[in-house]
Symmetry: C2
Subunit: 596 residues, 2 copies
Amino acid sequence: MDDKLHSLRHSAAHVMAQAVMDLLPGTKLGFGPAVEDGFYYDFQLPRALTPEDLPAIEARMKAIIKSKFPFQHTELDIEAARKQFADQPFKLDQVEALARGEMGEHGDTAAQAATSVSIYTHDSFVDLCRGPHVASTGDIPVDALKVMSIAGAYWRGDEKNPQLTRVYGTVFATKNELDEYLWQLEEAKKRDHRKLGKELEIFVLDEEVGPGLPLWLPNGGVLIEELEALAKETEREAGYVRVRTPHITKESLFLKSGHLPYYADSMYPPMELEGVRYYLKPMNCPMHHKIFASRQRSYRELPLRVAEYGTCYRYEKSGELFGLMRVRFMQMNDAHIYVPEELFEQEFMGVIALYIKYFKLFNIDKYVMRFSTHDKAGLGKKYVDNPALWEKTEEMVRRAMTNGNVNFVEVPGEAAFYGPKIDVQIWSAIGREFSLATNQVDFAQPLRFDLKFTNTNGQEEMPLVIHRAPLGTHERTIGFLLEHFAGAFPAWLAPVQMVVLPITDRHHAYANQVMARLKAENFRVTLDDRSERMNSKIRDAQLQKIPYILVVGDKEAEASAVAVRLRTGEDLKAIPIDQFIEMAKRLIQTRSLELK
Amino acid sequence: MDDKLHSLRHSAAHVMAQAVMDLLPGTKLGFGPAVEDGFYYDFQLPRALTPEDLPAIEARMKAIIKSKFPFQHTELDIEAARKQFADQPFKLDQVEALARGEMGEHGDTAAQAATSVSIYTHDSFVDLCRGPHVASTGDIPVDALKVMSIAGAYWRGDEKNPQLTRVYGTVFATKNELDEYLWQLEEAKKRDHRKLGKELEIFVLDEEVGPGLPLWLPNGGVLIEELEALAKETEREAGYVRVRTPHITKESLFLKSGHLPYYADSMYPPMELEGVRYYLKPMNCPMHHKIFASRQRSYRELPLRVAEYGTCYRYEKSGELFGLMRVRFMQMNDAHIYVPEELFEQEFMGVIALYIKYFKLFNIDKYVMRFSTHDKAGLGKKYVDNPALWEKTEEMVRRAMTNGNVNFVEVPGEAAFYGPKIDVQIWSAIGREFSLATNQVDFAQPLRFDLKFTNTNGQEEMPLVIHRAPLGTHERTIGFLLEHFAGAFPAWLAPVQMVVLPITDRHHAYANQVMARLKAENFRVTLDDRSERMNSKIRDAQLQKIPYILVVGDKEAEASAVAVRLRTGEDLKAIPIDQFIEMAKRLIQTRSLELK
């Protein structure tokens, strides 16, 4: 959020507070900041609010805005402030806290005890506030303003304090932006991956299996198989080899890799067998390094690109689990590339190219590569203590991305402990941001695992390692794709690609012929021969987001055709079956986003 | 082993004992039984034996055989036996044990104290022995006899007793049978999956990862991917759906399934998270049942065939681990079929058909379906206590196999705890037996999981469950296939399908053109452009069992051809590249056993 939007929203929060006080005299004020998607204000109210109160608050706000009251800034000494807020106990509490130097205006840590406080006033409303604000309430666009919802909150977020009522609102610079935001909210609800996951039978969570451990239903199984087929095909073409590695391993391997003790909090507890502690793997890297090190390697084999759809296990607190987005068990499009320094740039750009390829395929047009580098203060703590290697690899990545014209932002202090990383952030079709895949450079693990190859001079050399997972985990990627496509997947990915609907019982024979033809072509096709009305069968198919709805009756049987309707409602009319097969096959094989 | 072979081998053991006593006077005799592959005799010797002594023993045995000494049976009372074996301390020990009723002739439990013992004599040799024997040493075929090897053993197998020298021998009814056995032994050594697994870079075991946890190298990764592709294709055609399920789950689920406490010894120890115990899954069934039960089911959906290449974890003692054959982590060609009773026979035979299909594909021409049923005594202990259901399901399986003309043997008392099962035993190309896949009927878990569907009458009915895994686990199946094919896999399965060998540096350009063509066709092809001699490159490719060795020089470049040599050594001469591609593609796509 830029500064302008921030002061607009903060100003609107003041206006909302005035409106509530006007409507409900005796209201006591808590805090009222601007936040990510708008603003809120916390109140202690003379009566409970209901959603029905919100339009009145909004109407009152608009009246205040239209009056164009200027915002005025004053400094009051502590004694004057105490008088000013004598009947506002929470503001008074805050004045005292500021006076004691305990905290700043919004509960943040203060540098020192305040001798005066900052006040903003408009019309009759006075608030303890650092500002800044817009010049006048009239600068708030009335048509881009909305009071959104009511929630509960404790004073200073502490449940030992009184409970207050939090009213959320939002405001944008223009009505268009507000409308887009409201549409996105509405769409996000409709596209919620947990809701769609249930409706489209993609996955279930089962209390008896455990939290964060999704069971993938057959439709989810199709998505997984198709994503894996895509990854395997793409990776084969890019010269990767595939391995399989165990999911459990001795403690000593993770001590060697450095995951223990650094990463222990995110790992499952150990199991002891015959006096040895075993861990579920939180990452695949140590196993892949073991494969690299399983025999002497020559420069002829490098870059060696070792891929595996690896299963990883991470411990997340049950309160932090969220649908497919945060789970305890994940299947990762993982690979480790062992590369000599002089081939690094080329190889790194090859990996970036994979990301871009997938973005195109999934119609992801907005993305950013977030390049996380080390900070010197963290060396030896958050980061492996090797300043020269950090500088060198970061410079290699920076140069590769600059030379390759990749859109990236550099974020110091967020690197992985063994090297710089790139987090790829993408935006879904409704503009929500997801952090999906990472791409990391590793110079610490080759040292720890003593990885070597014989270079062109016949000498031993250490490779760099690139960790990469462009398709992230099935869990998070499918969660994202559910929202992104609202469940209406491209035909190649759709769990059911087509459904055959015979018009009456008389047409079952022909419907079965059509089924046999389509099955022979390996389409995922179902027959809906229930004795429901045709319209309701079509609607069911549309709700299931089945790309092609094929109605068959006398006319179609006679012409060896199918009447094709898309899930969008578009009617392609009767098409000869051969022609339909040719079209669908072509679109599926090319993994097209189009249905015709 | 039949009785005739048994008495032949037991007689040969006596002859070997006499031969050793003749050659090494003062030898004390232990036990000398017939065993699975021949016979042995334990001796306390005046000097250590070396392999160089074995031919002399064999020669002496042959002389004894040629003398045609009759075997004579006598009963001696205990006192006479004590005298007879006065200078044979181990025989005397055995006489005393028999007299006390502690054990029978070969250390087995005796019914009661003996008052006399059975003795067999031939020539000068007398042994304490129950028989039976052949009539005379002359009945032992000299040309089908071989003294094999030396090992150590404790008297009565107890390490507190004196250590004896065990000499192994074998004898068959005919020389042909001996030759075949010796060939099989030799082949089994060459085809040892641990040896081939290392030479062909299929898998490694790594001390730091842990015992029983193979790491699959890229070549092993190809085998796995190809087997999975085969299973998925076959199962798709047979109407299966695919799911994915978590590998860890709450203790309560395994209590519900009955794996706990029954199966706890074979499971990994639990991990505790937030006060709940989680286990690694030893089997996939409970998860699949959860998927079946995730919503209301109708008869229209049945049989529901739920497939997953599921990963299971079993605890085996480290002393019992063996290469790929006994591991702690396995990837299983699993599926559970939920079927109404009236469709059971048809569905069960469909599963059997899958097995047969795979046997053909892998050229497995000898197999037996071992039908394990319950025994009444085990009800409520080894077996779910529901006699009527046991009878009914066993009868259904028996009828299905009889009607389907399936070759099966019935083995009472070896069923799984939740129902009858079929273990499929197969023989490798060199005649070794493997127990690979199982197929089980389950009527207990549907009850435990309260599985139901709405039948055609609109009533709730419980399905039967068939557990099946025709391709077993990757670990054991690939171990078997390594031996079966001696690493020379059919082209569709071969990790590297072809190698291109340019004759000189001048031919690198054409070799690269050929590589590009072959890669574009998705063959797994490598280029051997090392500056080694052509013959040594061909030999290397043959050792790697690469099906097609493609030599390219001037003639081939001119004719757009490749000179094709099979790994068998067969020379197919120059073939136009298009024609070679067409042939290889056809053989690979049809998963042929042939290379041309």
